[in-house]
Symmetry: C2
Subunit: 89 residues, 2 copies
């Protein structure tokens, strides 16, 4: 369970997500994956970098994956880029 932590980045302030990541690591998570799509990708990178530099210097990037997801909308489908950043301690 402790290895299955996923945080989805949305419209909340960056520091809310940083706090969530730090809290989960302090609650015995060994690995956390930050997922974001579209314009939230920049925020996901901020979250990962702030976590590493300001809070948990021993955490490392285990894996960074880029992908394209297809969204079904009322007017057909559209593609959006996504990122998955896995941090491990």
């Amino acid at each position: 369970m402790a290895d299955e932590n996923i945080i989805y980045v949305g419209k909340k302030p960056t520091m809310n997500y940083v706090l969530a990541v730090v809290t989960q690591f302090n609650n015995d998570a060994n690995r956390i994956t930050i997922k974001a799509r579209g314009k939230a990708i920049s925020k996901a990178v901020d979250i990962a970098e702030i976590t590493k530099r300001k809070f948990l210097q021993t955490v490392t990037y285990e894996k960074i994956t880029l992908n394209t997801e297809t969204l079904e909308g009322e007017r057909g489908t559209s593609n959006v880029s996504s990122i998955e950043i896995t941090l491990a301690k």
Copy 2:
């Protein structure tokens, strides 16, 4: 020389950068690094994904690096996240 291609992502439309990447690969580059900071990070991921999915399916992600850069401004320093995406064929 052909291994030292760097593309800096700025305010131009995404497809301008995609075209630059595709052109450089077609001009015998074996490896291209896309660099971006701050909000341009999302655009860098779009550029890489569009290049891979629509134009050069044989290209792979060789390396993805996240970092924090310190910018010197008139009102002191500020930190900004950055990404480097290296595509190789």
